[in-house]
Symmetry: C2
Subunit: 253 residues, 2 copies
DNA sequence: TCTTGACCTTGACGTTACGTCATTTGTTAT
DNA sequence: ATAACAAATGACGTAACGTCAAGGTCAAGA
């Protein structure tokens, strides 16, 4: 019962090219060649091949496998031991690489959060921290909420940020338009816009009646926010905040 | 301050060939080429190179590095994440490989111990077990000592075994010679040989006066041992055992 | 000015373990 | 006989450089 290349390839799971290559480098010679130069393998070669594949899966280079299969059991054990220690140092190596990757990811994320924190409202990270401090000190939000908020956005992807910024931009434009049209802050249309504002803020945290009013107060108190909203219209902050107060009284608790 | 290839190579720790290669594949072009075709790099390229090397150490292929360095931080994080998961599956893979190696080592060791157990005294493993049983039953050694003995030899390397066998062979020949010369078992020369026998047995376990005598008794009782020593001389067993008894009485306790 | 030695250049082949053609010859089935 | 299939050889491609080889360039001393 002799196997031809493709038959042996199929039953052993390697390619015919591989068998030809092993023949070429002298790792596994066929049992004999036919008059047609065809390679014919037998059981013995099949067993040999299985040994080869075993060591190959362990990651031994073919040259080592050659020498290992020609050596006795003592030397096999030695080879296995040294190979094992190589694998073990690979393990450690890979573990530190993974740690490095983790550190790099959080580093980049830190940069990104800073950058985006600046981008979405036009304030630089230091000012952002001031605002946080203000909100903490004035009891608008708790430290826990600050942390939750950062955790929330740190998982955001690019599209999230873009959508978030677009929503904010659109909202402010719509508010400006409503104000210019002379709509009262308590008007239904404006309140619908404030509903959108509330939902928008929910991207970070969920204000209560009290803290939503506090947020409005911060808009008024802080020159950074004033100048931000002044880009749309000088009266926009007051308009927005009074509408927010009405919304808070009517809808929040 | 422009660096030439070798200078940049030295300060960055890569080879000049590597820099030329990176230029070739467009990964890191020099700041400019001189009229002499020399490559000149500047700080910017040094920083770039350090980025490249960072990702290279993480195991990224150069083609990926190209694309990563051209992408923004979001995509970098994504690349790092996917690379991390690749590394993690490598970890698992390697761990199972190590386990496989361990299993293979102990498998081969098992075979070896069997084979060597046969080789060193010419008995096959089953008979060896009989002898162990005999020695256990007759109180020559304890189960603990049997285990210790196997543990001892299972760490042996090829040279150990060869030396051990050579020592035994030499000792038996010397004993035969002494016997043929008409030396009495209690003669000093013969007792020195027995001293060697005692030391030889110590390769496995440390007999007491009583157990050393028991071992001699086994040599006499067991046909396997008789036929083993008969290869040297039909009277060798009796000669050896009586010398062992004298040694035990005089030297052991 | 000439030479020397250090430094630079561009090839081009070698490495690992095959994959993937292209081309040709051999076998088998209809 | 002819088509379809199987096997052969040969050669190039892969990744990331290492390692020559052969030849230009630069700074410095004689």
């Amino acid at each position: 019962m002799s196997y031809t290349v493709n038959k042996l390839a199929r039953i052993s799971g390697v390619s015919a090219r591989t068998l030809r290559f092993y023949d070429e480098i002298g790792l596994l010679k066929p049992a004999f060649y036919g008059d047609n130069q065809y390679r014919y393998y037998e059981e013995e070669q099949l067993l040999m091949l299985q040994q080869i594949l075993f060591f190959r899966e362990l990651g031994f280079p073919l040259s080592d496998i050659q020498q290992i299969l020609g050596s006795d059991d003592f030397d096999k054990i030695e080879s296995l031991k040294t190979h094992k220690s190589i694998l073990q140092s690979n393990l450690e190596q890979t573990e530190t690489l993974i740690k490095t990757i983790d550190k790099t990811i959080s580093h980049i994320r830190g940069k990104l959060i800073m950058r985006d924190a600046e981008m979405y409202d036009g304030f630089d990270p230091k000012k952002q921290q001031e605002h946080e401090k203000y909100m903490l000190d004035s009891g608008i939000i708790s430290q826990q909420q600050v942390d939750d908020s950062w955790n929330k956005v740190s998982h955001w992807k690019k599209p999230n940020w873009e959508q978030f910024q677009n929503e904010g931009e659109q909202l402010n434009q719509d508010l400006t338009k409503a104000m210019k049209q002379g709509l009262k802050p308590e008007s239904e249309d404006t309140q619908i816009l404030i509903q959108r504002h509330y939902a928008w803020v929910n991207n970070f945290w969920t204000p209560t009646k009290e803290t939503y009013i506090g947020l409005g107060k911060m808009y008024l108190d802080h020159p950074d926010y004033r100048s931000f909203y002044n880009k749309y219209h000088p009266d926009l902050v007051e308009y927005l905040v009074s509408a927010m107060n009405i919304f808070a009284e009517r809808e929040l608790s």
